[in-house]
Every structure is written in structure tokens, then in C-alpha cells.
């Protein structure tokens, strides 16, 4: 497993940078929702960039963010376009061939259940629709780890910020 601490540190660093860039750009006061979106987006991008484009979900995340015209992506835009092209090429690799007739055997039911769920999982994962099953589990693993790290870092920040406002009695 990767070194979680270093991952978190890097994530935090990138996140703060991104946020600063964001706040510097927008001199006006942002609404609550805007702020939340900015926070989340920068966090996601920071998290994805800790993977340095070695995983598909991170590429997809950055690509999606850049496609939505975010200012934070900045330097990652070139990379994201390249990765997007790669993703598009990969998209049509494994079309699923479904048999026309539906057998009601138990194994087929089980298979169909599993298929439904893998499809759901693919929808959850950023950029997951164009992944084949073998990589899907890998990507999910990585994604879960990153999400966990992200949540922990965010929680620290939340508690810290809260404590600033309401210091210990």
C-alpha cells in the first residue's frame, strides 16, 4: 500500500494551493454554494493529481473538471486533453454482448445481478464507464483509498477551522 501519510500531505498541499489560486482569482465574495463547490472541486482535483494520472479515475476526474471550464485545472489541462483522447479510444474496447434469450437458471441470475452491480459501480467511479472488469476492481480500490485520505484531511481542516472560531473553553 502506498504511504498514506505522504499521500495526505501531498493532497493537503495541493488542495490549499488550488484554493488559494481560486480565492485569489475571485476577489468577490462567493456564495456558500460556490464556496462549497470550489472546495470540493479543488479537493477532488488535488486528490486526483496525487495519483499523477496513473489511474483512470484520476484522469477522468481532471478531465471532467477541466471540461467544465474550471480555472483550477490550469496546467493540467494539456494532460487532461491527452488523457481524454486516450479514454475515448479506450471507450469502445469491450462492448458487452448480451444474449438475446434470457435463461432463468440460477447461474444466469447471479451473473445478471453481478452485472447490474458492476454497472452501478462503474457509474459511481469517475471515468468508470469505459473500464473493463479486471481494472475496475483495481480502480475502485485506489479510489476508495484516496477518498478516505481526502476525508481525513478535510476533517482535520474542519476541526481546525472550528477550533479557531470556538477555541477551547
Amino acid at each position: 500500500m502506498r504511504n498514506q501519510r505522504s499521500v495526505k500531505q501531498e493532497f493537503l498541499r495541493k488542495w490549499i494551493t488550488g484554493l488559494r489560486r481560486y480565492s485569489c482569482d475571485e476577489k468577490k465574495n462567493m456564495s456558500f454554494l460556490e464556496r462549497k463547490k470550489a472546495i470540493k472541486l479543488s479537493a477532488d482535483i488535488a486528490m486526483a493529481s496525487t495519483r499523477d494520472k496513473t489511474t483512470r479515475w484520476s484522469q477522468a476526474l481532471i478531465a471532467n473538471a477541466s471540461s467544465s471550464g474550471d480555472t483550477l485545472t490550469g496546467s493540467s489541462k494539456n494532460n487532461s486533453s491527452r488523457s481524454r483522447k486516450k479514454m475515448l479510444m479506450m471507450r469502445r474496447r469491450r462492448p458487452k454482448v448480451k444474449s438475446a434469450k434470457k435463461e432463468m437458471s440460477a447461474s444466469c441470475i447471479a451473473k445478471r445481478l453481478a452485472e447490474k452491480r458492476t454497472r452501478k459501480l462503474k457509474n459511481l467511479l469517475p471515468g468508470g464507464e469505459s473500464i473493463d472488469e479486471g481494472c475496475l476492481v483495481e480502480e475502485t480500490l485506489d479510489y476508495i483509498e484516496s477518498l478516505r485520505a481526502q476525508i481525513e484531511v478535510m476533517r482535520y481542516l474542519v476541526t481546525a477551522s472550528q477550533l479557531i472560531i470556538n477555541p477551547y473553553p
Binding site: 500531505q9 462567493m30 440460477a106 459501480l121 478516505r148 481542516l157 481546525a160 477555541p167
Partner: protein
Amino acid sequence: MLHCLNSNASGSEMTVLERQRATIKWQHNNNHHQGYSSSSSPSPSSSSSISLVQVQSSSPACLAAGAWPKLDNNFLMGFTSSPSSGFPLPPPPPPTTSAASFDLNSAISRTSSCPLPSLAEGKETTTPNNKRKTDKFHNTKVVASDNDNKDKRVKVAAPNDSATVGKKGTQDCGDNSNKDNSKVSEVQNQKPDYIHVRARRGQATDSHSLAERVRREKISERMKFLQDLVPGCNKITGKAGMLDEIINYVQSLQRQVEFLSMKLAAVNPRLDFNMDDLFTREVFPACAASFPAIEMSPNMANPASYLHFNSSQQIDAGINPQDISLRRTISAPVSAPETFLDSSCFTQTLPSSTWEGDFQNLYSVAFDQARAASFPSQLFTGLLEPSNLKMEMEM
């Protein structure tokens, strides 16, 4: 062979032993088994049953296909009668009868799906499961009595085999309706409960099934990792159930991220996360004791340096006189006065060896032992990450 079989059977019912011997001899002659010399010495005991199994496994389809039609009806009837006496199996009155039926059962059910090296274990695993084989036994028996041509069945069975080998199904298809092919394949499908490796048939389609098997094993191995990662997945064994859990977990994590970002937005009206402030407070539990080596160098005087922690970082704190890119390995040596950072921090290997302990500890120690102004530079230079630190997915 068969004649003697028939002749024997025509009179009284053959003893089980004789039947065994006959089948073995018949197998010998007809199957040209490769190298199962152990089967050449049948003896009236469990060893014969083992050999029987082995022989029959060596030419899997042949057994199901060929054994039955060639044998006399009496033979079959002997076995049909034995069910009444010997089934359900575990404590039947005549042990040899049950043994024979056990063995033949196991032999039948193991047609075509057990690889040769796993025979021994297969034997062990199958014998306790004999109870389940009642239906299969009946099915195959019925099937066998229908078809006369063993060769045809073998050929038919073989391609079907490879097709069904690739199936993921763990339960049988359930319809016993008509075809011999389906019977054979049904028998195979029922096997996965106790035989874990599918057989190779040496057919042209083998590569597909092999690749399929490898792929499936890879997936199941990764699922095991996921089981460790996702809490509460230890009890669930099915693929669909585990996927369910994983989906729920990922969804909950994503929702948590949303919620936390909302909270952060609410707490912080201006999106300025002032690290200085954050760490001047007693935010994190003090774990100062774990970092005895860390002291602040008095030369550090750049409070705002942490702002620029990208590749070209200017920290004139005395720690890193040269350019330090936090994302690259540090080649610049540590200059003199700083004692708090081990020089190991700046080597190309893991700086985190110095920064053992939690992520929190970094901040807490830095806070405890340094002035707030100087610590951030220390903190972020300590966060050097050689590129080899990242991306070690050991999957």
C-alpha cells in the same frame, strides 16, 4: 470384457466387487489411460475405489458416456437397487455397496472437470459430499441408458465441456429435460461447489477458458483486497453481495466528502485557509515526544514561504538554500544550523522515515516545538516527496 460382464450379470446379480473389476478392466481397454498405472491393480477395498476414480477421471467424458451403455442392465439395476439400500449414503448396511456407489457417484460427478493432479484432494472432497449426488446419479443414469453410442457422446460432450467450463455459474441449470449434452454439462456445473479448478480439455477453445479462468482469479484476488478495505465485507462471500457493499461504501464516502466540503464552506466565509492560524491553536493532540530530533533552527524566518510550495520554492530559511521543489527529490545538502531535520530528510529515499507517526503529529510537533512562523517552512520541506514515493499500487 463386456461379454463376461454380461454373462455374469445375466444370472444373478453381480457382486459389487466384480462389477468394479469389470469396469476397471473395461476402462483399461477402452480408454488407454495415460499413466494411471495405479489403477491397474484393483483390490477390493478403498484403494480400488480410488483407482476407479482415477481411471475414470483420466478420461472423463468416457465414463459418463461409455460406462453405462455398455454395461448390462443388471449392472445398472444393481445400482438402481443400491440406491434404495445405499442412499442416503453415509451409513448404509453393506459397506462395499455403498463404497462402490460412492465411488461411482464421485466418478460420475467428477467427469471432465477435475484436473489430474488434484485427484487426491478431489477424492477427499467428493466423498463427504456424496449426499448431494443422488440426483446427479439418477440423472446420469437415465441419460446413459438412453444413448448407445459412446463415441458420439464423447464428442458431443467435449465441446460442451469447454463451453461450460467458462461459465461462472455455481449452481446447476436445473432443467433435466432432454439432452445428453445438457446432462453432462449439468453435472459439470454442479461441481464447482467442491472442485475449485476446472479441467483442461486440450481442445482448441481451451485458450479461452484458460484466459477466462486467469481473469476470474485475478478479479477474485482483488476482491479479497477490497474485502479488507471495505468494513463489514468479511462475512459476505458472494460477488454480488460484495459489490453491493462496495457500492454503498463508495457512495457513503462520496457523500462524506460533500458534507465536509459544505462544512468547510460554512466555517470559512472567505476560503482562506490560513495555515498559520490553523496551527497556532492547540488543534491537534500533542505528540511531541515522538519527535525528539526536531528543533527549530533559529535561522528560519520566512513565515510566508509555505505559500509557495510548488516546484520553485524560495525558502530562505536556511534549511534549503537552493531551490527545493517539493515534488522532486532533494539534492541540495542541508546547510549547517538546522538540526531539527535529519539529513535523511533530504536524501532521495523516503523522508517519511524521519517523519514517523501520524499526519497529525507532523503538525502537532511542529507546532509544539517551533514558532508558528517558522514551522510551515519546516513542515513543507519535510514533506518532500521523491517521486518514487508515489504510485505504488501494489495490486
